[in-house]
Every structure is written in C-alpha cells, then in structure tokens.
C-alpha cells in the first residue's frame, strides 16, 4: 500500500505556515484573555503588584524631571563677577564693560564702582572702623556679567576663560556652585529612581514569572498532550506569553493610575518648595507619553517574565 491518506476528499489541508502562525497567535491571545477574566481577583492582585513596582520609580523620575525643568527656568541665571586690576580707572572699566557687552551670549553687564562697593561692604559687615583706618580703598572696580539664560555650564566655563584673558581683568568668579549642588541633588534622585526601577523590574519578573509557573503547573496535562500530538514548545508556550503580555500591560495602566494619584497628592508640597525658590508653581503630572511608556514597559516586563518562566518550567514538561 501507499502513503495515500484515508478519505482524502474532505477538506483542503492545513493553512500555509505564515497564516497558521497568525491564526495560532490570535487563538492564544483570545484564550489568554478569557483566562484572565476567569480569575479576576488573583489577576487583579498581580496587576496591582506590577503597578506599584512601576509607579515608584516613575514617581521619582517625574519629580526629578519637574525639579530640573524648574532649574532651567530660574529667572536669576548664573552670574560671573569680573574683578579688575587695582590700577584700572573708572573710565577704563567702562571701556572693558563695552568690550564684554560685545561678546556673544551676554545679556547684561553692570559696572560696580569701587567706592560704592566699599560703602556697601562696610555697611553690610559693620567693619567701618577697620576701613576708616585704611588709607586707600582695597577694592578694585568690578563688573557683574549676566549671561543669556540659554548658556549652559560648559558655555559658562568657556566664557570664564575668555573674559579672564581680557586686559585689565585680574580674576573671574563663576557663581554657580549652588546651582551645581541642586543639579547634583536631582541627578541623585534620578539615579536612585533608575536603580529602583531595575530592582523593581527584577521583582516584577520574578513575581510574575512565579505566578505564570503556577499557571503552567496547573495546565501540565494539557502541555503533555499537546507535546504528544505534535505541538512544539512554541505552541504550548504561546498562551502563557500572551498572559504575561496582557498582565504586564494592565500593570502599566495600574502604575499610571497610582502614579497619577500620587502626583496629585504631592502637588501641594512640591509647589511650596518651588515657591521658596521664587518659582512659578509647575505641577508635575502624568503626561500621555508617560502613560504610553509605562504600558509598554509593563508589557515588555510581562513578556520577559513569561518567556523566562516558560523556558524554565514549560520546556521541562515532557510526556511520560
């Protein structure tokens, strides 16, 4: 006898591989969706765990971003103080001021007269007696240089070098240390949030991976039968991958909700802080791109968890 099939007249045979692949995906997605609805409470708890894990680092990064945005908008941009040589006269100082004004990136230059500076200094420090005993004013004329707000740290350093090279300038003081400190603080906040994200992501993968492991164990019989009758690991794994994907994406939605509520609660204290720096209150809030990013990240982590869990547990299930 031949390889001829019995009753070969019925049907036309399987789909082409690509079409079968799409069909299998659609079926697996559908089955996973139905399974999610079958156990709403336990799935909700898993989604909540993922939501909390993603919301915490998102909050940190949101606040760091809001603070940094405020720093960039500070209305007193960093200032350079030019101390001129002691021999420079007021007229010469005025000429140097003109020179500085012509440099690119300069918003304003104030000439501070040495006598007025001394008067202000003595008034502020209460050291009148000491200065009266001096025969001459020890202070030079000075220039206060206000660069444009768009000049960044690197540009300021360059400006400091350029201005220092002018004749008659003895010293340039860049007054930006407090800004650097604040920047360093928000950088720290951002880095902490990133590290927290990595730790939380690992937590999500392990938690969701374990939940999916239970799902795989519960369907052991089905996996064995699938493998016995010609289904590969890919076929058996697919519904679990979709479960991971859906749970993760819903976790992302949950994270957006939690984060949104938390930002609303943090609104008042954060703005109070900004007001202390004479800043216009700017509310850190959940933006659509964050929502999208959280959902994509949740879905990605869900998929990774499912893959790792299936690789670890599902491939081990072999028919006896």
């Amino acid at each position: 006898m031949s390889n001829q099939q019995p009753s070969a007249g019925i049907g036309v045979g399987p789909r082409p591989p690509i079409s079968a692949w799409f069909h299998h995906h659609r079926q697996a997605a559908q089955a996973s969706y139905e399974k999610l609805l079958q156990a709403p409470v336990s799935n909700f708890l898993t989604i909540l765990v993922i939501g909390v894990a993603l919301a915490l680092p998102h909050l940190g990064i949101s606040i760091a971003t809001a603070v940094q945005g405020q720093i960039e908008q500070l209305d007193s941009p960093p200032q350079l103080s030019l101390l001129l040589d002691g021999t420079v006269t007021y007229e010469e100082a005025a000429r140097i001021r003109e020179q500085v004004m012509r440099k690119p990136g300069i918003a304003e230059v104030k000439l501070v007269d040495r006598d007025r500076a001394l008067a202000e200094f003595t008034a502020a420090t209460g050291l009148q007696d000491l200065f009266e005993r001096l025969n001459s004013n020890p202070l030079p004329h000075s220039l206060w240089v206000y660069p444009n707000a768009n000049v960044r740290t690197a540009g300021l350093e360059q400006l400091k070098i350029d201005l220092g090279a002018l004749t008659g300038v003895s010293q340039v003081i860049l007054d930006s240390r407090w800004l650097k400190r604040l920047n360093a603080f928000t950088d720290l906040l951002r880095t902490t949030a990133s590290v927290l994200f990595l730790v939380m992501a690992l937590g999500v993968v392990l938690t969701l991976g374990n939940t999916l492991r239970l799902g795989i164990e519960a369907r052991r019989d089905e996996i064995v039968v699938i493998k016995l009758i010609g289904g590969g690991n890919a076929f058996a794994r697919r519904p679990f991958l979709y479960t991971g994907l859906f749970t993760g994406a819903l976790g992302g939605v949950m994270a957006s909700l939690l984060s949104g509520f938390a930002l609303m609660a943090l609104n008042a204290p954060v703005n109070r802080l900004f007001e202390l720096y004479d800043q216009v209150p700017a509310v850190p809030s959940l933006v659509p791109s964050d929502l999208f990013a959280l959902i994509v990240m949740g879905a990605g982590l869900g998929l990774i968890s499912a893959w790792y869990s299936a690789q670890l547990h599902l491939t081990r299930i072999q028919p006896k």
Partner: protein
C-alpha cells in the same frame, strides 16, 4: 510510512529494556505488539515517538533515520502519528469536540476544515451526538473512542495504540480493535501494543512478541495483507 528497526537497543542504567531488536513494518501494514508487562512494548513505542532515543541501532521511519531528527524537529515529526493511550489522555477542561480538534489546531487547519474533520472522525467512532459533552461524563469505552477520533482526525500516516483496550470488557475491546482494522484498511500503518492474546490472535494481522526486551516471534509479514 514504513518502519524499520535495525539492531535497536535501549538501556536504562544497567538494564536492557530492548536488546538487538530488528523488524520491518511495511507502509500500510498493521501489527500487534505483545508480551508480558515489562517486556519492552512501551519502550518500543516510546522510541518510535521519539519520547526516548535508542541507545544503539537505527530506526528508520518513512526512509528517514530518527537519529537525524533534532530536538526542534520532534514536534513536527510527531504530527505524522496518531496516538491512542490506555488512559486516553483527554483534557477535562474542554468538550469532546475541542479534544478531537486539538491536533488540527496545532497543524493549523482552518475552522471550516476543523469542523468537517472533527465531525467525520466522531462519526467514524460513533460519537457524533456527543460533541459538546465533557469527556469526564462519558463511559470508559466512549472515552477511548474519543481518544481514537483525536488520533485519526489529522489523518496520520502511522497510528500507534498502547494497550487501547486495557480497561474495557471483551465486547468493547473487539469493537475498538475493529476500528483500528478499519483505519488500516484505508492505508494507515497501525501498531497496537496489547497483551490481550485471545483477542489479537483472532484477527488476521502480524504479531510481534517481545520477551525481556528481545523479539521472539516476528509473525508473518504477509498475513492480513491479502
């Protein structure tokens, strides 16, 4: 598809489950595999399904040496087989219809094709009216027939059954064996492992007898072929 075993051995630890086993089954032939429990019947079927690899010798199926099939190719290789188990291995979380449809879904058949083929397979085993039933609500004989419908629904080239009548009374057993004969008569190669000598000796098919992992009779390859 023909099946050729050449000096096949399978060793588990220090025990030979199968030793120096050689036989040939032509395409479209039906054979019974018999012997005491532990004689190696299941091991032989497991080697054929690539649930185990032979320790020595060669197995060729349809002219293809099994040693050349990589782990990633095993699933596809198994789609040429229909397998009937003693304990049916039906899934109780879905209906009879969906149990039988599973091999077709794996192979990627269209829904229209699946409908027609599942109904045709259930019709052949006499269970057309029970599509929506849960397998757990069926009798032992009915469950076994669902298992057979699932094994034949994708029109395998080789049908394998491991003690398919183990838990059934003689009359039901004869009916089940009759079904296998019917599939064989339309060209499917059939291998049935059974220790029910009284039943299988009444049927005019070749009988391979195993004892302690060795083949002691290979039967007559021409019997049942006329």
């Amino acid at each position: 598809m023909d099946v050729v075993f050449s000096r096949v051995g399978k060793r588990f630890g220090k025990r030979d489950a199968l030793a120096d086993l050689s036989f040939e089954l032509q395409s479209g032939e039906m054979a019974f595999l018999t012997g005491h429990s532990g004689a190696g019947k299941s091991t032989l079927l497991r080697l054929l399904l690539l649930l185990e690899r032979a320790s020595s010798g060669d197995i060729d199926v349809g002219g293809r040496p099994l040693s050349k099939i990589k782990p990633s190719g095993i699933a596809k290789y198994r789609r040429d087989f229909g397998v009937v188990f003693q304990d049916h291995q039906l899934l109780s979380d879905r209906s009879v219809y969906h149990n039988v449809a599973l091999p077709l879904e794996i192979a990627g058949f269209t829904q229209r094709d699946i409908n027609r083929r599942v109904r045709a397979a259930l019709d052949k085993v006499g269970l057309l009216g029970r599509e929506r039933a849960n397998p757990d609500t069926l009798s032992g004989g009915e469950q076994q027939r669902v298992g057979i419908a699932r094994a034949v629904v994708a029109r395998p080239k080789i049908l394998i059954a491991d003690e398919p009548t183990g838990n059934l009374d003689p009359q039901l057993s004869a009916e089940i064996m009759g079904l296998f004969s019917a599939f064989n008569s339309v060209g499917v190669t059939v291998i049935v492992a059974s220790h029910d000598l009284a039943l299988i000796s009444r049927m005019s098919h070749r009988i391979l007898t195993l004892d302690k992992g060795s083949l002691i009779t290979v039967g007559d390859s021409q019997r049942g072929r006329d």
